[in-house]
Each structure stands twice: as structure tokens, then as C-alpha cells.
Symmetry: C2
Subunit: 331 residues, 2 copies
């Protein structure tokens, strides 16, 4: 298959390359493209050194599938160009996710919908994607009434600039220098910032509403009650989420754990006596979402569970999901 990555030099773009390598994706040609300032860069892959090229009509003409990982503006500009060149777009931006005609796909949950595409398939938000895997186990087996979530999100969710700013502030602090703030709205080192993406008129941020809108769409449950508080932390990689769920039928930690052990995309890390529970440090670079701290809810009793998850938002929450969508189209 001929593949293109648009935004190949960004944090998600590089994860897509790594993912294609690790999963031995059957590639005939891999084309890497990016904005003007990265054109000409050389990226090493297991298929040889690849020179970053411009985003062009020819790129899409040569490609069967293009991964778009360069943000909404680039998707808006170039997705139509890919379409007229019969190149299927797997788009990681939020631009098309809420379009009823665009499938929003997590292959482990609703992979079949990918085939209803009209040239474009949307990849979910990373925070949504990580939580959806264990939540779907509850939805399928017990039915979900309510989801209440608080997140613990890494700076790399804001791209390379976010990661750089945390690294730089650590060095500045260690050298007794003043901390420079530019990417985030406040100092991120030693801080907690309850603000990711723009604020909406209802007081929630767009990041929080993405979790609501996307979970409802992927689960085909527009009625599902969900709320989220999204918080940025001085963590390099992997998002964590504290989740409280009310179910329609009775549920227990034991039943949920048994079902999780038979599920793909999730890894049960839940032995508190041994100090084992999900953390970003252990979840990073994993294909699965870590889940633990599973306990009966003190709020919803026999109809509720509480748990904690950590998942690599760049890999599991973005690149891997996109590559898994592409894998559906391997003949």
C-alpha cells in the first residue's frame, strides 16, 4: 500500500511512523510531508531514509491513504485535495469529527463504520480514545447511564512546543533562572492548569466537550450523560483519567476485571497490595491503556464503578488508532 503522512515531523506524525514500523504495515511507498519549514528534512525509517516533501496534489495522487496529523487548518486546506485524488484521509484533527457524514472510528469499538466513509475517516481526540476502550466494555455488558471524568494530561498533548516548555522550565529551575512561559497560559512546572483548548459558552473547554460529543457519537448514544474536567499537568507523556460510571444493570469490580482480561486494547494493572496501578510512567509507549484502582462506587453502589486509567495519548490515543483504521483497508 502507498501511504502518506501529512505532518510527519510533528509529535503524532512521528508516532505514526513508529507505529507503522512496529506493526509491520505492508508498505509499498511511504511519503512524508510537512509544512514548508520542514521540507527537505531527512527522516530515518525501516524502509530507508525519507526526505520530507511538500503537501501537494501529486502526493495524494501517489498515495492510497494519507494520515493527517498537522492540525485542523492543514486538514481544512488539504483534505479536499486528497479526496479529489482518490486518497483516503485518516484525519487526526477535530475538524470533521462531528460531521454526521464522517465516521469517527475506534477500530476495537466501531471498526465496521470505517467502510461507510466518503473519502475521510476521523480519528478521535486522544483523551476520548483512551477512556473509550474500558468504557465500551461497561457499555456492552452493563449499559452506561452516567460518566464523570477528571483528567491528568501530559504536556506533549500540546505538541512538541508543550514538551519543550516543560523541559526548559525544569532546566531553568535547576539553574535558579526565571521560568519563561510562552506555550501554556501559566507556568506548567509544579503547576496544575484546568484549561485545555478554548472555553465554550457553557463554561466547559473544547477538550472537555470533545470527550462528551465523541463518546456519544462512537457509542451511538446521543443521550449518554457525560461530564469531564480536563487538566494539564507537568507530565511529559501519557494522559491519566479518574472515571466514575453509573451503569444500567448491576456491576462489580470482579465482573469488570474478568471482562477486561478478555478485551483488547486494555491492560489490567490493579494490585494495590503490590503498589500496582496505572501511572503515566508505566503506560507510556504501550499499545494498551492501563486500567486499575477498580472499585465499587461509593456514590452509585451496585450500579457503579470507579477506576483510574493511564494511556499513551500520542501512541494509543492517536497514532495507533489511526494505523489500526488503515489496517482495516489492507487487502
Amino acid at each position: 500500500m502507498n501511504l502518506a503522512i501529512v505532518g510527519a515531523t510533528g509529535v503524532v506524525g512521528r508516532e505514526v511512523i513508529k507505529c507503522l514500523e512496529l506493526r509491520n504495515f505492508p508498505i509499498t511507498n511511504l511519503y512524508l510531508a510537512a509544512s514548508a519549514k520542514s521540507v527537505g528534512k531527512i527522516i530515518k525509517t525501516i524502509w530507508g531514509e525519507i526526505k520530507v516533501r511538500e503537501i501537494s496534489s501529486k502526493l495524494f495522487e501517489q498515495s492510497d491513504i494519507a494520515f493527517f496529523t498537522a492540525g485542523s487548518e492543514i486538514s481544512k486546506l488539504f483534505a479536499p485535495l486528497a479526496k479529489i485524488n482518490n486518497c483516503l484521509v485518516i484525519d487526526n484533527s477535530s475538524l470533521f469529527r462531528y460531521d454526521p457524514l464522517v465516521p469517527l472510528v475506534i477500530p476495537e469499538i466501531n471498526g465496521a463504520e470505517a467502510f461507510n466513509h466518503s473519502g475521510l475517516i476521523a480519528n478521535p481526540n486522544c483523551t476520548t480514545a483512551i477512556a473509550a476502550l474500558p468504557l465500551w466494555v461497561l457499555e456492552k455488558n452493563f449499559g452506561i447511564k452516567k460518566i464523570i471524568m477528571s483528567t491528568y494530561q501530559a504536556v506533549s498533548g500540546a505538541g512538541q512546543a508543550g514538551l519543550d516548555e516543560l523541559e526548559q522550565q525544569v532546566i531553568e529551575y535547576a539553574n535558579h533562572q526565571e521560568l519563561v512561559v510562552s506555550k501554556f497560559s501559566h507556568q506548567i512546572l509544579f503547576n496544575v492548569i484546568p484549561h485545555i483548548d478554548s472555553f465554550q459558552s457553557n463554561g466547559y473547554t473544547k477538550e472537555e466537550m470533545k470527550v462528551v460529543w465523541e463518546t456519544q457519537k462512537i457509542f451511538k448514544r446521543p443521550d449518554l450523560a457525560i461530564s469531564c474536567t480536563a487538566v494539564r499537568l507537568p507530565i511529559k507523556r501519557a494522559h491519566s483519567e479518574s472515571v466514575v460510571v453509573q451503569t444500567k444493570s448491576k456491576v462489580s469490580p470482579e465482573k469488570f476485571k474478568k471482562l477486561l482480561s478478555q478485551s483488547v486494547g486494555v491492560e489490567l494493572v490493579d494490585d494495590v497490595a503490590l503498589g500496582q496501578y496505572p501511572t503515566p510512567m508505566t503506560a507510556m509507549n504501550k499499545f494498551s491503556v492501563e486500567i486499575g484502582r477498580i472499585r465499587q462506587s461509593l456514590i452509585f453502589g451496585e450500579y457503579g464503578l470507579e477506576f483510574f486509567i493511564s494511556g499513551d495519548q500520542l501512541l494509543r490515543g492517536a497514532a495507533l488508532n489511526a494505523v489500526e483504521i488503515a489496517e482495516l483497508f489492507i487487502n
Copy 2:
């Protein structure tokens, strides 16, 4: 008044001294006491330099009130000695908090109960104390049905050793050295650890259950449904909490904000257009708990609110509360 501080060299003990100074507490004599390894140390105060002494019968004989800030073991050993010497104990440990005969007091909420003491008054857990102030405004005015909380807690909640470990890991990281882990169960720099205090048989940690037990006791609402997920972060000082509340009667962000503006112990920091919301960096060293991100709950609709708080857990959540209890006994 003659005051003693037991554990005067610890992180909370030092905050109590600072608090007594800032509030011009009418002190005749201030006695500072600590464990053997700190005896003889000199601590500078606005009442002169004070030499740290042993915890003894004489200490309590000379004192009207003793603040205990050295943990449960010291409280267990020495609170009885204070009592037989007619010295009122204000205890910051969790040891006596759940004894129905011991008042558990947040002066802004249930100050009158302090006078029902039998020689000892318990100071609440810092995470509980911070949340209780805004929650009490909801309880008084709308009645609370359910509270769902996830916390973002600073390393200084684990004492000086916790703070030192984070500082040391920052320096080690900046110098490309291996990170030494000793106080926390995992590396804390760049990490999220959903584990504070010991695990209970119901799967919740003791820190989480403290929030449940203590809020129920302080609010005199043993039926109140509360759940908590308590998480340690690489933050130096001030705890934050993401809170979802279901109320008994209809509530709105506007009504809640108006009531908060008339309340003591809380500071409304809620102008998202200006990037203003609670953060530990702005909440530290404040007497008030910062509250913001107030919005109608997507889960509980007109009967629910969601908000975010940050409060200095050493000062507002511990020392200030203890000093305010002592102030009730100034003639």
C-alpha cells in the same frame, strides 16, 4: 495565652508559627517542641528566637493550648499527657477525628462544636478542609445529595521528605543523573500516582475515605454520598480538586457565585476569558481557597454544579484551621 507546638520543625508546625505571627495571636509564651533529633534547634519568630525543647509533662503544664502536628504516633503517646495537665490539644493527626466524642472542627462551618471538647479538638484532613468551605455554601443553601471529587495533591502533603524528593529529582533530571526514589512508591517527577495513604478493604485509600468520613461528620450528614479519587502530583504546594455536586434544590453558577462572594475562606477566581481559574501556583500562601471553573453540571443539570478549587493545604488546609480553632478560646 501560653501555646505549645508539638512538631514545630515539621512542615505544618512551621506553618502554625507563621500563622500565629500573621494573625497577631495574643501570645504570652510560645513553646516549641519536637522529637529528640530536633531538640536544641533555634527557630526565629516575631516573639524572639525560641529553642526547640522536648515533649514533656512540664511543656503541657505551662501551656493552655498545644497544637499537635507531628503525626498519629506522637498524638497517641502525648495527647493523654497534655490532657492530665489541663492543656487543650488541637490535633492535626487523623487519630481522634472519627471518635464521636471528639469534635472535628472547621471554624467557618461548625465552630460552636469546639466548645464540646473533653480536652481535645481534631483538625480535619487538609483535602477535606479545602473542599468543605465551598461545599458548605452549597449544603447550607441548596442541600447536597452527592459529591464526586478527584484530587491533584502536592508532595508537601507528605511532609518535608516529599518536598525534598521532588526537588532532588528535578536536580537529578537536569544533571542527567538517575532519579532516586525513596519517599514515594514511584518516581514523582513527570508522574501521576493515584495512591495516597494506605489502601482500605473497599479499594479506596485512607486519604479518599478521610474526605468521606470527615465531610459527613463536619456537615452532620452521615447519609451524604461522597466519593473521592486522591492523586499525588509533582507539585510543591497547594492541593487542587475537581468537584461535581448534585444538589437537592435547583442551583445555578450565578447563584453560587453570589453566595461565594459573601462567604469567608473562599476566593472566587473565575474569569476564563482572562485565563483566570484556580491553580496551585496562585493559591499557595493564601488564607482562602481559590474556586473557579464554576459551571452547570452536564450530568445533574439544574440540580448540579461542577467546579475546580486550589488551596494551600499546609496553611488553609491545616495550620490556619488549627489557629482559628485556638482563636475561639481567646478571652
